[in-house]
């Protein structure tokens, strides 16, 4: 349960922007900066996790703003800008950390988020602790996925969002402000991704290590596709993935005859295998990755 939060948050963030047609590939960088500033926010302010989370969300949002500006307004290629932002995020994350903490022998620690048991329900055997004694981010993530799903499917703004991703020309003709929608979703999505990054030091290790995101950012892109760009499915997909990952750890510990590296590879291989029959059937937003230019007459 714990492991899936960063995946879900990052994937939902990717989905949000993607449903409006902006393909964010900078997740790894944004998550790294989120982790870095999130950790620093808590460590330097000496306060609770709130400062760190807030800071991570804000910084993530800034990256999203940059992405939105360069692609929606300046109409530059989304992948390339995404890669550039990834790089900058990577650089800044280490930079911020080193400048604030310097090189130390023992890693500085912050206290990790406390669990918040839901009274009564958490006492159900087996299922209870799994579902109801988690920290606040886990609850938040589940809630978020639900809310996103409902918003996207059943509300007017949700429809507008989806329209922008499928057919911005039509949406524009109907009066939807396409750039606005793209900006909003990109920034909001990036904020989620930043939070996903901050989750790592705050819940897992209590400290920041370079490269601690370990490719989860890239994975979240895969998971977004895996979940068919649908918030509910993304949650389930992340559950599957996290489940396989935890299985890998268990096998490692109990020492079943299988070499543990093989099991480590399993989540990734499994994802590829599952994508084989399903990828083409996915409802990928038709205008994903393409910029919308109102002045263009040609439809590519």
């Amino acid at each position: 349960m714990l492991t899936l939060v960063p995946y879900v948050l990052a994937s939902q963030g990717t989905m949000l922007a993607g449903r409006a047609g902006v393909f964010n590939v900078a997740q790894e960088g944004i998550m790294l900066v989120g982790a870095s500033v999130g950790f620093l926010g808590v460590y330097l302010s000496g306060g609770g996790p709130l400062e760190g989370l807030l800071l991570a969300a804000v910084v993530g949002g800034l990256f999203g703003l940059a992405l939105a500006y360069f692609t929606t307004t300046l109409k530059m290629d989304q992948f390339v800008i995404g890669l550039a932002l990834f790089f900058i995020g990577l650089a800044l994350s280490t930079l911020f950390y080193r400048l604030s903490i310097g090189i130390t022998l023992t890693p500085p620690l912050i206290s990790t988020l406390r669990d918040l048991p839901v009274a009564g329900l958490s006492r159900i055997p087996v299922l209870g602790p799994i579902f109801f004694r988690q920290n606040i981010l886990v609850y938040g993530t589940v809630l978020l996925s639900l809310v996103l799903h409902l918003l996207l499917r059943y509300t007017g703004p949700g429809l507008a969002l989806r329209a922008v991703g499928e057919n911005p020309m039509a949406a524009d003709a109907l009066g939807v402000n396409v750039p606005h929608v793209r900006y909003l979703t990109t920034v909001a999505g990036a904020m989620l991704i930043g939070l996903a990054g901050a989750y790592l030091p705050m819940v897992y290790t209590g400290t920041f290590t370079e490269g601690m995101v370990r490719g989860r950012g890239w994975l979240s892109i895969a998971l977004t596709f895996f979940g068919g760009w649908n918030p509910a499915l993304i949650f389930l997909g992340a559950l599957f993935f996290a489940g396989v990952e935890v299985l890998a750890f268990r096998v490692q510990v109990t020492g079943v005859g299988v070499p543990y590296q093989l099991v480590l590879m399993l989540p990734y291989l499994a994802t590829m295998v599952v994508m084989m029959p399903t990828f083409r059937r996915l409802q990928v937003p038709a205008f994903l990755g393409k910029n919308y230019d109102r002045e263009r007459r040609l439809l590519l």
């Binding site: 650089a91 895969a222 480590l264 291989l269 029959p277």
Partner: protein
């Protein structure tokens, strides 16, 4: 430039050409350095000394220069592994995994076939690396061709798989018990790349890398196959209508990229480490993508940008050693250079 020709003013002179093509880079570099310099000064660092260390370390000593060249070799190959598929508008983010696959293949040959004579072993080793890398890219390429799965995802996933494979090979298959870090036993001495310079060691991989750059350039720009590749990347629909097998070319471009990365892996094994060390991939993937982007996919620009980045890397490490300034600052400079170069494109288009 096109406007001048159209207006009958003739081609711009050579000076103008140099200025317009190198101009954005120069400007971008200057602004990036300036921006980071201000930041560093605010933190109280000795900016002129820091910058001179970063920029000039590579040229101040033979050792520095050789270090730079040693970094240059895998960087330029990996950058090409990114730019060749990019010409077909496919994004190969799997250079890391393909390099590792190549390294594994090369190490395997170097260890298993240790009895072969020198040249044969070396050639076999390199070939194994190329094929392994090509295979590593062929999996995502096939997934793209057959199932339409986005290559960004699959190449990245394969990176992760390669980490597991590398760890397995280094710890279970041919581990070197004496080493403190997952490593394999060394490959046969016959499998090492001959040295160009004895001390500090610069291996022939440098010649190989340069030859490959030329080969790639010729392939992309002077052959029909290369032309088709670029056409597929520029406008897939038009190319398809003209009978170019766009989907097959996309697959081929990825496999080629993988082969190039695999070559980088085998060169690292044969030239630098002489074994498979976990972590052989270093941070090359990041830098190689950056190089490819800064060079805007232009094969001629790639070696120059790769050299510059290699020099900055060596300089940054030196700076970190001597001045305790985090080396990552140079990443920020790199990233900013990229953004400014891209911006200059936008400005020029308006």
């Amino acid at each position: 430039m096109a406007e001048r020709v159209l207006k009958g003013q003739g081609w711009p002179g050579p000076l103008a050409l140099v200025v317009t093509s190198a101009g954005p880079y120069a400007l971008g570099i200057t602004v990036a350095f300036a921006a980071v310099g201000i930041f560093m000064a605010a933190m109280g660092f000795d900016v002129p000394r820091a910058y001179s260390t970063i920029v000039f370390t590579s040229f101040r000593s033979v050792n520095g220069f050789i270090q730079t060249l040693l970094k240059f070799i895998p960087l330029v190959l990996l950058a090409l592994a990114f730019t060749v598929p990019l010409a077909a508008w496919k994004f190969n983010i799997g250079g890391e995994g393909q390099l590792i696959a190549g390294a594994i293949g090369a190490a395997a040959v170097g260890i298993l076939l240790a009895d072969l004579p020198a040249i044969v072993l070396l050639l076999a080793l390199i070939l194994a690396g190329i094929l392994s890398g090509a295979f590593w890219a062929a999996v995502p390429a096939w997934l793209l061709y057959r199932f339409g799965i986005n290559e960004i995802l699959t190449t990245v996933l394969m990176n992760f798989v390669s980490f597991g494979a590398m760890d397995y090979v280094a710890t279970e298959v041919w581990p070197d018990p004496a080493a403190g870090h997952p490593t394999t036993v060394p490959i046969a001495a016959a499998g090492r790349l001959p040295l160009l310079v004895a001390s500090p060691p610069l291996h022939t991989g440098f010649i190989i890398a340069l030859a490959v750059v030329v080969a790639v350039y010729l392939y992309l720009n002077r052959t029909t196959a290369g032309y088709e590749l670029r056409a597929a990347g520029a406008n897939a629909r038009a190319a398809l209508l003209h009978g170019i097998a766009v989907h097959r070319i996309a697959l081929l471009s990825l496999v080629l990229g993988g082969a190039l990365a695999g070559l980088a892996g085998s060169v690292e094994v044969a030239g630098v480490h002489h074994r498979l060390i976990e972590g052989v991939q270093s941070n090359y993937l990041l830098l190689s993508i950056l190089i490819g982007l800064i060079a805007k996919g232009n094969t001629v620009a790639v070696p120059f940008v790769a050299f510059a980045i290699a020099a900055l890397e060596v300089g940054a490490r030196a700076m970190q050693r001597t001045m305790m300034i985090p080396a990552e600052i140079v990443f920020v400079v790199d990233g900013l250079i990229l953004i400014f170069v891209l911006l200059s494109d936008v400005v020029r288009r308006r």
